[in-house]
Structure formats: structure tokens, C-alpha cells
């Protein structure tokens, strides 16, 4: 590429200035005992001349002394080739060296011309592409010589040839080579055809083996580091979001540093977080989702990777791709290749710097018309979290928390979210130094990321240092090593959940009559560190929580590797590798005095150490036979060892305020724990791959593992895989529009062991009772006969390219059968166990993924690329253990997430409303209202109703890129269609009267009979409440003035059962007429929104613009003047737009519960504001 670029420059100048260049240029050289080659190089360096020659004709190692000053080129070359067998010819800026003919003795110049051009013939012509466009920079070489030429900007060329048997070779990157015998032609116009196979991608596959993508029988997706870093991400997974078909990425709470889930081809395991295995440069690294500590998400460990260090990411989606990785590859493998120093001569420096601002911009809209209370507008109950109390801004006078017992008007403030949350900032800086020579290469990279969050006093820092290098000890022995050290830390991570001690809930539950800024000085004067300022007992001051009850961590991670590759004989290589990933994480949580529920504060500190090491020894063989058979095979052995250690200490109460040590714990309140574990797996594996004439490829793999965690008899397990790739476009002549066609298919198994100590029952220690030790047996029945899990995957797909790669289409359909899953299956506790470890079931995931890459427009310097990827996946439970017929995932409020055998994972259920089921009754379908006036749920377990499913119908990522000259505009759009989620945040905001929609029940016309209106349009009213907070808002009269209430009576429409005089049950209307049982607005609303999950079930459809980057690349010549190789600046934006079908300002991406178990489709106060990020990024290479 670089060569052709230079050639292009040369040839274009050639067209304008013929021989004047050689006359005007003056050279100065002073070299002693230099070889001809060195002198040629020196001339090339000083000038724009390019030399062409054929190695065998020129003695490049001949040593010459040369000393010239301001001489023209002829003079210099004459000296150089004096007394040699060579001669030269200058053509524009090309210098062709040939062999002297020893015959004639004349002037040197003549002799050369004679020798090179016996017939003194020249050929001219034009090289064009299939569209007739002139191709610049095409290399033209006279076969068998070093003589050649290059086309100019219009595709024109001229070349001197020897005779009619001369053959011209036309070549250019991306086009098929063409050879033409000259014959007697003097003008030769050539059309070059695009070389489509040459465009095929090299991808990194299992065990780090680079393969041509076309040879693979399974779906593998590659994302370049550049595409990951279009906008800066603190977690590499966010950079993948929306870009890869078949992959679902969701960030836990939307905050910088929170965990990011990556699920490939659907969740196939019921008992794990379904995260793929991450392998960085051959080092398997730990990652899991449940890195929660005291409610704070410390981020999944994969976020320790500095995205700037990433060269590319390969995603091995199915077991076919991943089978060689063994046990842990069932959920796919993400191979991360970091940048290395190779591929560039000399030393290069890369610096990039980015700053982004995270701006909270959209909130769930709360109301500011009514103050705290539950009883109604007539009573001010400042201590309540609910807001069904008196009118604000209406001149009502009440004593309040800060009015010293005096009456003061109730005033509203609408600043509690906007004045609390702040703009977050992230600064990212990276410097990398790399270099290489023929013996090796190295790269050193230093990165630093600093973030302050949108929640006050939260932060996240990451410093990374990475060194890697390769050295060729011998032409046949290469050693490489690398180490990366990452420190991630935070003084305080926000807690985003529904607990009383979380900022999110605390801010939301402030009443509208509170100015949040009045709480900002959060210590009571004179009682600093002892008593927080707050206006109600039940809630903490959010500023206090943010600043005093901090949750910090410090994680040190080291990933290291040492590897040698010894090419024993040609094609046979022995590779040995040791890799190690370890981290230690220290955590600390403080609770200050006066914390709700922990009045004397508390302190917890934990430390965890985890390490995994892998030894691999692998012998591989590659050979191409007669350009027909391409064979590679390998055998290998692996040992994996994991070790973990955990310690925790907690003081549940403190003695001295603001002193955070365990020894400051109140006597008797200190808890402690410690544990450690280890496990190991031995594996042997083999792979054979055979390719036939670039047309058909067959891959076979097999692996056997022995795991320490399984019973002796089941310890060893074997799993094979096979895949085929057939390139029809190589086998048959394809229509012109079909450039490339490949069909692929594969079948594979992956075995999976279990965690350590899963076989036997153990006693656990409970908290001491005074001086008595307490021990108990937990509810999980262990299983001494556990077998390894086996996932079998089948996939079939095709890769097509149309219209000379302007359109690329890849599609895959897959089926994964996960058998023998080790499930912690819920049992009725009455059996004596709450769950049991079993090998059971058949969980089947099916889905398809489609990638469409297009370039709709190329017009001059303008180019528009547009990529799509679409994913759909569904997982069904086909079998569970004998006698077990459903699997329960979780429950939130009145929503149950569970799946029955034969049904799809993601189903959400609720108890339905109890209604009149007698079809002959005039009240058929009417809710049966209790004598207390309230709707009832149907408690019959057989009547449970399915109300939704959290799976999206499909997920689509769209990435348009526009480029014009040095400018480019990139966008990443994520569209997730369909599915539902249950929001308990909305349930509580409604329950608490925080939303304007809670002012009134279902609207009605107050001038007409409400009973008639219900009878006329029952669907509108039944199952909802009717009434309002005041008469204006639809409240009814209580009919009892002694209550001292406004007309704020409400009711649940339906029928009540009463017993008549003769003891029969009769239905009585509860439709707002006489005899209606009236409710307060609070009760009427609450009993609807909290009893029925479908009241708060929302569409999960949304469209997000995740990334937007506008980049300007400094033009090369200009950059060169500044001494730079490359420089670019981009303006970036993330998440600046989101549309949700639900329209409640709740982001459906947040609809899941984290913590000890990850449950999708339900959420509770995972409701931070929507955050848009803006910033810019500078990249400089020199």
C-alpha cells in the first residue's frame, strides 16, 4: 500500500515533468565502503528517484567509495557503475538498472541504451477499471527484468520494452494481476478486474490462530480497534454495542463504570450470567457481572482493559468457533488483540486525548402541585414519602421542618433532580510508544482515565500500563512476552437500587415542598459527623448519602504472558505459553452516624484475590501442497488453575464517629469472614483443517477435559466439533453482480464443569448468639453425581458479496441445545430443600443474525457506508429435571418472571384481577370488589396469566459513515423492537403520587351519572380507579361532613358481594352510586398500581443514537509540516437521542435487576436520568 502510494506520486509527477527533474537535481554523497544497495537507498532518500532492477542482474553488495558534491544524477551513477557489469537508464524519476552488453565500446550512455533496448521500442497505453475509470498507480513490470513503470493519475503509462516476446505485468492492490505479451503492439490499453478474494479478511480465531475468514465454517465477527474508539468508552463492551449481530449489550445503570452485560446468541444457561469468555492476547481473563458490593456496582472486571490498546476484537459466537477453549466457551469467546509494535519500522509515538461531559437531560417528570401525606389534601404529613397531601403554592400554611414551629406557606420546588445531579466529566489520555526492526518489536502504552460522575462525589479512575514485545532469538525461535498492570479505583461508587440508602431513591422521594439546596449543608450545626439534616425520618438526606456513606474500591490487576514459538522444521511449530491473570480488589463501605437504620454508623471492608494461570503447549503443522491442499493441524495440552481468597470484616455499629476502622466497632457488633477456593482443569485438544483449492475447507476439533470439581467418574469429558466452508464463487462462474458466495455450516459441542465444592453438603456459620456459636445447613441440596454440561450447537450461514463488494450480506441461523445443565432448581421448601443442584434439562436457543454492509454512494471524494446488523434470538426450556416443570427467575412487586417447560424464557406473569365469570350475569367481567371497596386478585394459582415477555422481537444496529476528503461523520444507532418490561420504579412513583397522572383516576364527565358512563364504556373504567384528589380533579363527595375532608372520595368500579336476608350472596353495584364504598385517592390508586403488574408493564421498544462522531483528519502534507505522521480531531456525542415507545422517560435498557442474580425484564429504581455525553478527542501520531 505504501509502495503504491509512493509510486502514484512518482508517476503523477512523471507526467508533468519529464527529464527536467534529473537535470535540476543536485546530489551530495559521502560514503566509504558502502554497498551499491546502500548508495541506491541514499539516493532514494535524497531525491524522488526510484530504482528498478532485478536482483540477479545487479551486484548489490559490491562495495564502492563515493564522494560527490552537488552533482547531477548522471554523474553520480556513472561513478557508481564504473568498472561494473551494470548500466542504467533514467526515465523521468525512475532509474532502471540493467546489465551492460560487453560488445561495443562507445560512450557509456550509448552502451546502456543499446544494451537495454535492442529494438528501442516503447509501448504506451491506459489502464482502467471495469467502469472505464483510469487507474492511477498501477505497477507495470517487464517480466523477467526490474524494468517497469507506473500509471499516472489518468491511468496513462509508457514503458520501454525489449522485443515482441516481452511480457508486461500489470498489477495493483485490489486488482487481479494481468500479463500481456507485447507482440507488435505499441499501444496497449488494459482493463484490470477487481480481485475479490484478495479482499478477504484475516481474523483471529480460537487459540489466537489467524485465519482467512473465507475459510471458516462458522460465524465470526471482527471489530477493529478504530471502530471501537470512534467515541471514547471507559468499557470496551460499550464500544461493541450495536455493532455486532447476535450480540446483546446492555449497561447496568447507564453510569460510567457500571457493569456491561454482553450476551452472545441469547442466554442459554439458566444459572449463570451467560457472559462470554474473554481472552486478551491469549490470556483468559476473569469477568462476571455480579461485581456488586453493598449495592454499588463496581464494574465488571473486563472494564480494566484500556480500549485504546485494542487492535481488534474477534467475537467467536458459537461453540463451533470456541470449542477449543473448552469449558468456559459455552457462551462464546471474545478475543481481544492488543496493539503491538510490529508492522512499523523505527519508533512511533501515538498520543490520544479525549474529554467528555455527561449531561443528565431527561428525568421522569414528577409533580409539584401536592405535598407529602397519604390521608388527603386536608392533612400535611411531612414525614411521609408519599405525596397525596395538601396543595402547594396555594397559600396553605403549615408548620414545616425548617420553620421553627411557625406556620409558613407551602411552596413547591422543581429542582430536586436538576440541582442534585451534576454534569459528569471524563478525561482520557493515552500515550503509546512502539517500534520494531527485523529482530523484534515492542510497544509500551500508558493510559489514564479520570471520571467524576453525575451523582455528586462519585468518581472512577483507571491507570494502565502495558508493555509487550517480541524478539526473534533465531530465525526459527521467537519469544514474546507482555505484562499489563491496571489500577482501577474509586472513592465512591453510586448505589442504584431500591434501598433506603440509595441516592436515586432518596432524591426521587423528596417531597416537592423541599428545596433540595436547603439540605446541601447536611450536618446539623454543632453535630457534625453525628446527625444529618433531614426533614423526615424515613429517608436519608441525599447529599449526606453521597458524601458520607461512600463505597469505594481499589482493584489492581495484572495480566501477563510469556510465549515461545519454535519452528522445528518448515511448517512445524511448537508453541509454549504461560499466561496469568490476577487481581486483588479491596472494598470499603462507610456508614456515618445517623444513617437510617444504622444510627451508629458502620464500616465494612473486604478484600478479594483471584488468580488464574494457564499453561499451554501446542504443536502445529501447516503445509500447502501443490497449491491444492492446504493442511494445518495442531495438538495441544492445557492446564488451568484458579485460586481465590476472600476476607471481610464488618463493624455494624461504631463507637467514635467518623473513624472508619474495624477496631472502632462497638463490642459484639463486629462480623468477620474468610474463605478460599481452588480448582484446576487439564485439557488436551487437537484440530485439523483441510482446504482444497481455496474452494472447500473442513475444520475438525476435539478436546478432552479433566476437571477437579466433578465427581471422579464424571470428571473426564470429551467434545468434538466440525465445520465446513464452501466457496461457490471459486467453484463456479458467478453472474457478474454476485461477487462472492460462500456457504458454511458447523456442529460443535462444548463441555462445562461446575464451580468448586458443589458436590457435598456443608454447614455454614450464622452470626453468634452472645457467646454461643451457631451453625446451620443451607437449603441447597448438593449432588454427588453431577455431570458436566454439554452444549451442542449447530449453525448454518452464508456470506455473499454483490456488485463488487458494494454490498455484503452475511446471515447465520443457529440452534444451541444446552443439555445436562447444572441447575440450582427451586424446590418447595417443604421438601426440606429450597433448591437442588441437578443435571437437567434441555434448554434450546434458536436465532438468526444478519449483517448487511453497503456502500450506497461513492462520488469523487464523497463516500457513504451504511452497515446494518439484525439479531433475533429465543430460548426455550424444552426439558427440566424429572418432575420439575418450570424455572423461576425472579419476582418484583406483583410481576413474576418464570418459564414453564415448552415455553420461552422471558415470560412475565401476574395474578389476574378477580372478576365475575358467570357469563349469564349482567355483570360478567366486572371486577369483584371486596367489602372494603377494593379490587381483588385471583389467588388461584392455576389462573396465573402471562402478561408479556421481555425479549425483543429483534435488535438492529445501524452504522452510517459519511466521509468527504478529510472529514467524516459516523453514527451508531441501536433499535430494539418489541418486548415488555415491568417497572417497579413507575409503580412506586405512582404509588407515591409523584406523577401528574395520579391527580385523577380515569376521567369522566362530572355532569352525567358516573354509573351510566361506566356501563356505557366498561373497558375504559373497570380495573382502574375513579375519582380525584380534589373535587376539581374528579373527587366525589364522602357524604359525611363530620369527616372534615374535601370531596376527594374515590372508588374502584365493580360489584360487591353481599349476603341478603335469606342468606344468599347477591351482587351489589359499586359504581359510584349510593352504597359505593369510598376510598381515599391514595388507597384507590395504590390498590390498582401495586396489585396488578400489567399496570406498569411497558413496551421495551426503543431507538437510541448511541454514538455520533464528527472527525477531521489533518491533511498529510500539512501534518508532515508539523512533523506528524497523522493527526485527527473528532467531536463526539453519545446517547444524544432516545425514543421509547413507552414514553415514560424510563430507559428500557435499564429494565433488569442486578445484584446476586441477574434478572431481566423487571427493575426497581434503576432510574437515573438519561445522560447524553459530549466531547472531543484528539489523536496524534509522530
Amino acid at each position: 500500500m505504501r509502495i503504491s502510494f509512493i509510486l502514484l506520486l512518482v508517476s503523477s509527477t512523471l507526467a508533468f515533468s519529464t527529464d527536467t527533474y534529473s537535470q535540476n537535481l543536485k546530489l551530495s554523497l559521502n560514503l566509504k565502503k558502502a554497498t551499491v544497495k546502500e548508495i541506491i537507498t541514499a539516493i532514494e532518500d535524497q531525491s524522488e528517484f526510484i530504482f528498478f532492477y532485478e536482483d540477479k542482474e545487479v551486484d548489490l553488495n559490491r562495495q564502492v567509495d563515493i564522494k560527490v558534491k552537488n552533482q547531477d544524477i548522471n554523474n553520480v551513477l556513472d561513478r557508481l557503475f564504473a568498472n561494473s557489469s551494470n548500466s542504467y537508464l533514467i526515465k523521468g524519476r525512475q532509474i532502471i538498472i540493467g546489465k551492460k552488453k560487453p560488445v561495443k565500446k562507445a560512450s557509456t550512455q550509448e552502451a546502456v541504451i543499446e544494451s537495454l533496448q535492442p529494438e528501442k521500442r516503447s509501448v504506451t497505453g491506459r489502464v482502467s477499471d471495469e467502469n472505464g475509470e483510469g487507474l492511477p498507480g498501477v505497477n507495470i513490470i517487464l517480466k523477467g527484468t526490474s524494468m517497469g513503470s507506473v500509471t499516472d493519475i489518468d491511468g496513462q503509462y509508457a514503458i520501454e520494452v525489449i522485443d515482441e516476446n516481452s511480457i508486461l505485468i500489470f498489477s495493483s492492490v485490489g486488482y487481479m494481476k494481468q500479463e500481456v505479451t507485447i507482440g507488435d503492439l505499441t499501444i496497449i490499453d488494459i482493463v484490470l478486474l477487481e480481485d475479490l478474494t484478495a479482499l478477504s479478511e484475516i481474523v483471529v480465531t480460537a487459540l489466537g490462530i489467524s485465519r482467512e475468514k473465507m475459510s471458516l465454517g462458522y460465524s465470526i465477527e471482527k471489530v477493529d480497534g478504530e471502530d471501537l474508539n470512534n467515541t471514547p468508552h471507559e468499557n470496551v463492551l460499550n464500544g461493541l454495542s450495536g455493532k455486532v449481530a447476535g450480540v446483546t449489550i446492555s449497561q447496568m445503570d447507564g453510569l460510567v463504570g457500571s457493569s456491561v452485560s454482553m450476551i452472545i446468541r441469547g442466554a442459554t444457561s439458566l444459572n449463570s450470567d451467560n457472559q462470554p469468555l474473554f481472552v486478551i492476547d491469549g490470556v483468559p481473563v476473569a469477568n462476571s457481572l455480579n461485581n456488586f458490593y453493598k449495592g454499588a456496582d463496581l464494574g465488571n472486571p473486563i472494564s480494566d482493559i484500556n480500549p485504546s490498546d485494542i487492535e481488534s476484537v474477534s467475537i467467536l459466537k458459537g461453540p463451533s468457533a470456541a470449542a477449543l477453549y473448552g469449558s468456559r466457551a459455552g457462551n462464546g469467546v471474545v478475543l481481544i488483540t492488543t496493539k503491538s509494535g510490529s508492522g512499523r519500522k523505527g519508533i512511533g509515538v501515538n498520543f490520544n486525548s479525549a474529554v467528555t461531559f455527561d449531561v443528565p437531560y431527561k428525568y421522569i417528570q414528577y409533580q409539584t402541585k401536592f405535598g407529602p401525606g397519604k390521608a388527603g389534601v386536608h392533612t400535611f404529613e411531612e414525614s411521609e414519602n408519599e405525596n397525596w397531601g395538601p396543595r402547594l403554592d396555594a397559600g396553605e400554611m403549615w408548620t414545616q421542618w425548617n420553620t421553627n414551629g411557625e406556620l409558613a406557606p407551602l411552596i413547591s420546588y422543581d429542582n430536586r433532580l436538576t440541582d442534585f445531579y451534576q454534569t459528569g466529566q471524563t478525561f482520557t489520555n493515552n500515550v503509546a510508544l512502539n517500534g520494531s526492526n527485523e529482530n523484534g518489536s515492542f510497544r509500551v502504552s500508558v493510559g489514564d482515565m479520570r471520571n467524576t460522575g453525575i451523582v455528586p462525589n462519585t468518581d472512577l479512575n483507571r491507570t494502565s500500563l502495558m508493555v509487550n514485545g517480541t524478539y526473534n532469538l533465531h530465525p526459527n525461535l521467537k519469544v514474546q512476552g507482555g505484562i499489563s498492570v491496571v489500577e482501577s479505583s474509586s472513592d465512591n461508587r453510586p448505589v442504584v437500587d431500591g434501598g433506603r440508602n440509595t441516592v436515586v431513591r432518596s432524591v426521587y422521594e423528596q417531597s416537592a415542598h423541599i428545596n433540595i439546596l436547603d439540605l446541601k449543608d447536611y450536618w446539623v450545626p454543632g453535630m457534625e459527623n453525628i446527625q444529618q439534616v433531614k426533614y423526615k425520618h424515613k429517608q436519608n438526606n441525599p447529599w449526606f448519602l453521597a458524601h458520607e456513606n461512600t463505597i469505594g474500591f481499589h482493584r489492581d490487576r495484572t495480566v501477563s504472558k510469556l510465549q515461545f514459538d519454535w519452528e522445528i522444521i518448515d511448517g512445524l511449530t511448537l508453541m509454549g505459553r504461560y499466561t496469568r491473570d490476577s487481581y486483588s480488589e479491596g472494598r470499603e463501605a462507610k456508614k456515618a452516624f445517623s444513617t437510617y437504620g444504622q444510627w451508629d454508623g458502620g464500616y465494612n471492608t473486604e478484600s478479594e484475590y483471584r488468580k488464574e494461570s494457564n499453561y499451554d503447549l501446542m504443536l502445529s503443522y501447516n503445509k500447502n501442497f501443490n497449491e491444492v491442499w492446504d493442511v494445518s493441524a495442531l495438538v495441544g495440552a492445557n492446564n488451568m488453575y484458579q485460586y481465590g481468597k476472600f476476607m471481610s470484616n464488618e463493624a455494624r455499629s461504631m463507637v467514635i464517629p467518623d473513624l472508619y476502622t474495624i477496631s472502632n466497632g462497638l463490642p459484639g457488633t463486629v462480623l468477620y469472614g474468610s474463605s478460599w477456593y481452588e480448582k484446576t482443569i487439564y485439557g488436551i485438544y487437537g484440530m485439523a483443517s483441510v482446504g482444497f483449492k481455496n474452494m472447500v475447507y473442513l475444520d475438525l476439533t476435539a478436546r478432552n477435559d479433566w476437571s477437579s470439581t466433578l465427581p471422579v467418574e464424571n470428571r473426564s469429558y470429551f467434545y468434538p466439533s466440525a465445520s465446513v466452508s464452501v466457496l461457490f464463487s471459486e467453484m463456479f462462474t458467478m453472474p457478474e453482480w454476485l461477487t462472492f458466495a460462500k456457504l458454511r455450516g458447523g456442529i460443535a459441542q462444548v463441555g462445562h464443569d461446575v464451580g468448586p465444592y458443589q458436590l457435598n453438603q456443608y454447614y455454614s456459620t450464622a452470626q453468634d448468639w452472645g457467646n454461643a456459636k451457631r451453625m446451620y445447613m443451607g437449603g441447597t441440596l448438593k449432588n454427588t453425581n453431577l455431570k458436566p454440561e454439554i452444549a451442542t450447537s449447530k449453525e448454518i450461514g452464508f456470506d455473499l458479496k454483490f456488485l463488487k463488494n458494494r454490498i455484503g450480506l452475511e446471515a447465520t441461523y443457529y440452534v444451541i441445545d444446552n443439555e445436562n445443565q447444572v441447575l440450582n432448581i427451586g424446590l418447595p421448601i417443604e421438601s426440606g430443600a429450597s433448591s437442588k443442584q441437578i443435571n437437567a434439562g434441555l434448554i434450546q436457543s434458536k436465532g438468526w443474525e444478519i449483517t448487511l454492509q453497503t456502500t450506497p454512494v461513492i462520488a469523487g471524494d464523497f463516500r457513504w457506508d451504511l452497515n446494518f446488523n439484525i439479531t433475533r434470538s429465543r430460548t426455550k426450556i424444552l426439558e427440566l429435571a424429572d418432575g420439575i416443570s418450570y424455572f423461576h427467575f425472579g419476582k418484583e412487586g406483583s410481576a413474576y418472571v418464570r418459564t414453564y417447560v415448552g415455553e420461552t424464557i422471558g415470560d412475565i406473569y401476574q395474578k389476574p384481577m378477580l372478576t365475575v365469570t358467570d357469563k349469564s350475569s349482567p355483570y360478567y367481567g366486572y371486577p369483584i370488589i371486596s367489602s372494603g371497596g377494593i379490587i381483588q386478585t385471583d389467588n388461584n394459582p392455576d389462573h396465573l396469566e402471562k402478561i408479556g415477555n421481555f425479549n425483543h422481537d429483534f435488535i438492529m444496529g445501524i452504522q452510517p459513515t459519511f466521509s468527504y476528503k478529510s472529514f467524516s461523520l459516523y453514527a451508531n444507532i441501536d433499535w430494539r423492537q418489541g418486548g415488555e418490561f415491568f417497572s417497579r420504579t413507575m409503580t412506586f412513583l405512582r404509588n407515591n403520587g409523584q406523577l401528574e397522572s395520579t391527580f385523577s383516576g380515569t376521567p369522566y364527565d362530572p355532569n352525567r351519572s358516573i354509573e351510566d358512563q361506566i356501563r356505557e364504556d366498561p373497558d375504559k373504567y373497570l380495573g382502574y380507579w375513579i375519582g380525584g384528589r380534589t373535587e376539581d380533579l374528579g373527587g366525589f363527595s364522602w357524604g359525611d361532613p363530620s369527616l372534615g375532608r374535601e370531596n376527594d372520595a374515590c372508588f374502584h368500579p365493580g360489584v360487591r358481594e353481599e349476603i341478603d336476608g335469606s342468606g344468599n350472596k347477591i351482587l351489589v353495584e359499586n359504581l359510584g352510586g349510593p352504597g359505593t364504598v369510598w376510598l381515599t385517592p391514595f388507597t384507590a390508586n395504590k390498590k390498582i398500581v401495586r396489585s396488578l403488574a400489567d399496570e406498569n408493564l411497558y413496551s421495551a421498544t426503543y431507538v437510541k443514537i448511541r454514538e455520533l462522531a464528527f472527525a477531521y483528519q489533518l491533511p498529510k502534507p500539512f501534518a508532515k509540516k508539523l512533523g506528524l505522521q497523522n493527526a485527527s480531531i473528532s467531536f463526539i456525542a453519545k446517547n444524544i437521542f432516545e425514543w421509547t415507545e413507552a414514553g415514560v422517560n424510563f430507559d428500557p435498557e435499564r429494565a433488569f435487576k442486578g445484584g446476586s442474580r441477574w434478572v431481566q425484564g423487571i427493575e426497581y429504581y434503576n432510574a437515573l436520568p438519561w445522560i447524553a455525553s459530549f466531547g472531543f478527542k484528539l489523536n496524534i501520531e509522530f
Binding site: E381, W676, T680, Y757
Partner: protein
Amino acid sequence: MKKLYITILLFVAWLFVPLSSCYNLDDMNVSPNSPEEVSSNYVLTYVLTETSKVYNTLGKEADNISGAMQYTQRGTDFNALRVNSYDWSPGSWSYYYHILRNNEMIYEKAVKDEHPFFEGVSLVMKSFIFGLTTDLYGDCPYSESLSANDEIYFPKYDEQKNVYKGILEDLRTASGLLANVDAAVTPIAPSADVIYQGDPDKWRRFANSLRLRYCMRLYNKRSDMDAIGMNIINEFNDASSFVFESNDDNAVMEWLGITGNDSAPGGPLNSANPGFGDKPCQTIVDKLKSIDDPRLHRWMLPVLRKWDDGVAVETDYTITNVYGESQVVTYVPPLPPTEDTSLYVGLPPGLAGSIALDYNKGGDPASYDSEKNPYVSYIHDRYREDANEYVKVRLMTLNEVEFILAEAAFLGGFNVPGSAEDHYRSGILASFDDYGVENATGGFDFDAYYNNPDVNLTNAPDKLERIMEQKWISLWMGIESWFDWRRTGFPDLQTGPVTMFGNKLPLRFFYPSPNQDPKYLVNYNAAVDRLEATPNVPTGQSKDHSYSKMWLLQGTGKPW
């Protein structure tokens, strides 16, 4: 070149070492953190403390049963529907079975090790927890329960009579085992036994006292029990010879008050929100006031603001109760004449939350914390402490035994030494002793108390009602009185203005939301089918309802 080969050799060797020198895969998977076998002492402490806690929780102030028995009511909107209006919903019995599983571990090990003391104690605890379960719910998994190890995952719900029969048999066995324990040979560590400090005699008294409790529970169904081979009268008589004889015999667990784990539920360690929302109910307050009962002052506080005709302006008085505890009460001149002018004001049962929180406030325009209406009495401060000498978990006490004996003597047919009145008096005295009435400043004249015509048994128009009424008082915030009420209809409690399912008190707990497995539902549905829906169960609703009658109540005409 030589150097190169040495290098390669070293690399290969270095890699082969770990690959060839195997870890021992068998040893590696033995947990270094947790034992597979432990002394039953540790498990027993767990079982006793956790049982006590769950039992206590049921009767904890303002929970469902305390509200139904009108010891307490909710004075706020929060939980008012549930407590005051009986809007009950399915709870959970998981913890009972969790404890039972651990108790079973003790039992099995005791049988294996031939340790009659642990065997007897574990049978008592098994009976206690299963007794509680069936009392609350009716039919429940029993004979097939706790058999997951035998791959019985969906145990059937046993008919209630068989559960009671098993309980009584186990208790009889336990009594026999405990009578023959030599604590020197087969001891239980005193520190581990948080109830009886390793005293087998007291465990035997507890076993027999429980037999009295369950025999009396089954009195109305004695012929059904007889039909399945369990003679209630004989069983009762057999047990009554070795029961509680002093409050020192009581099955009681004291709170330590060190951590949340070992502290009373109402104290600051466990209750972030102190229980001011729970008010003493008017029913019991008025009863205690009407008979001038000294226990009133142990259990409740005077109002902070008292309506009073005698003052012209708000005046503070220091009020001292019979135990010498003082409190400042503000006397407020009367506004409307409808308010209660007493020093002790209970909250009437069954008020809607929005009404309850303003109860007796008159026209006072000040805004108070919604849980702290100063015109209604609070439960005594001791219930908001982490530990207090009068606040403990009373699994069973002497006064209950005495009242059972009084009832048995009254009913006749039992072999009870002493008259109903003897036991009735002893019951009241036992309760007074338990609550330290003798510590009243200036002493306490029991005879004067007893001679009150509303206390004295002799003058009672309905002697059973009188016995049950005093038993109800003595069982303050306990759950036994609910079971007694179901059986006898006494005390004759009336619902308030707002009830969720008609003007009756609830009869049972909803079953926990059943496991949805069809195999489980078969058993569950069979049990639900055996329930008898009263008219208060809405049509179309499952019979698994708080207003359905379990076998124990079916056909007895009780409580209504």
C-alpha cells in the same frame, strides 16, 4: 546455536513440569471453608433462636394477629388496611421448614449417636414448629416433608388431624425420652441451650405443657381424633402430671441486645423506624382500665396530650404510673366535646388509615408526625428497646398452662387436680409475676384486684368467657389468643367500620404463594379443596383464603 537449544529445552521443560506433575484432583474439591459435620450444640442454638424469632414475629406489635386480637392497631395509613381491616395476603412459611430441616439434622444425628437428650429436644422443637404451621394454615406438608434427600420434592399436604396426631405422639415420645436423660452422660451444652441451659427436666415440662396446649386445641374435634387413635382426654391427663409449675419453667428466650441478630425486633438495632405507628387498641386498653389492671402500665404509655375539662389553658403535668415511671402530659382544654379525655387512649379497631391517624385529635390544627399522634397512647417504650427484662420471646408460659387447666376443670371430664377457680387465679398470678406487678411502688393487693366483679370467676355470667378473657390479656401480643378465640369465640371481638371481607375476624393464614409446579399444585389444590369457604370468601376466589375454615374449625360452629 547451542545456547538456543538450551533455551528451547528450558522452555519446554518449564511447560512440561506443571502439565505432568498433576494436582491431586480428588483432594482439591474438598471445601477448606465449611465442615461437613458439626456438633449438634451449634445447630441447636440456631434452631432455638431462629424458632423464637419467627414465633415472636407473628405476634409482634401491629402484625396481623395482634391487630386481629385487638391488642394493637395501626395509627397510620401505612399497613392500616392490612392490620385494621384484615387485608391479609399470602405470607411465607419457608423459614419454618428451613428450621425444621436443621432440627431434623439434630434428630438424625441424635438417633445415630444414641443421644436421647438431643433426640427429645429435637422432637419438641419439631412438634412446636409443625404445630405452629398447622395452627396457622391448616393442612400442611408433614409426613412427606423434609424428604428431599429421598427425592420427594413435592410432599403431599397431610390432613390436619394427622399432623396434630403426629405432633402429640412425638411430644409423648419426647416426654418419655427426656424423663430418662442423664445430662452427665448425654449433655447439651448450657450455653447452646438458650432456653433451658441444658436442663432435661424443664424440656420435659415444656413437652408436656405443649401436649396440654394441643389437646385443648383439639377439644372440639376430640371425637374425630379419637377415630384416628388419638384420645385427647387421655393424652391430656397423661401430660398434666409434669408440666410448668413456676415461671422458671417457662419456655422463654431472652434478647441479648448486642447486635440486630440477637435483639428485640422493636429496638433501634432492628427497627429503623421505631414502632410509633403501632397503637394499643382501644379494646384492650379499655378492658385493662375497667378492671384497674396494673399490667396497663407495663404495656402502654399515657397520651402526650390529654383533653381535659379542668384546665383553661394548656398545662403540663407530670404523670407517674404504678411502677414509678414518669411522663409529662399536656392537659389541653376541650375543644369539641366528642373526644376521649382519658389518660390512656387506645385506638378503636378497624379505622381506615386516614381516619386512624387523626383519631382523637379534635380540631388541633398543628401538624404532627403522622405516626406520633399525641392524643393516642403509645405502646410502652420498652417495646422500642433492644432488650428489656419484660420483653422476651414467650414460647409458652405458666399462665397459659394454668388457664388451660382452669378451662379443663371447667369443662370437666379431665383429670385435673384443683378447681377451675384455683387455676384461674394461678393463671392471673403467673402473668402478674411474669410482668413484675409485685414491683409496683407500694406493692400490689391481688385480692383487691381479684374481688373486682369483672375479674372474679365466681361472679362471671359466662365462666368460660371470663377465663378466656383473662387468658387473652395474659397472652398480650401473643398469638395463642387467636387460636383460643377461633376455638371458643372468646373474647367476643367485634370488627370496626372498615373491613376487607365482611364484618368478621379472619380465621387462618393464606397458604404461601404455592410453587407453580403442577406436581406441587396437585397437592396444594387437594388441601385447598379440603378447606371450607365461609360466606366471607368472595365468589370465584380460591378457597385458600383467610376466611376459610380449616378442618380444626369445620363443624364446630366456632368462632362463628
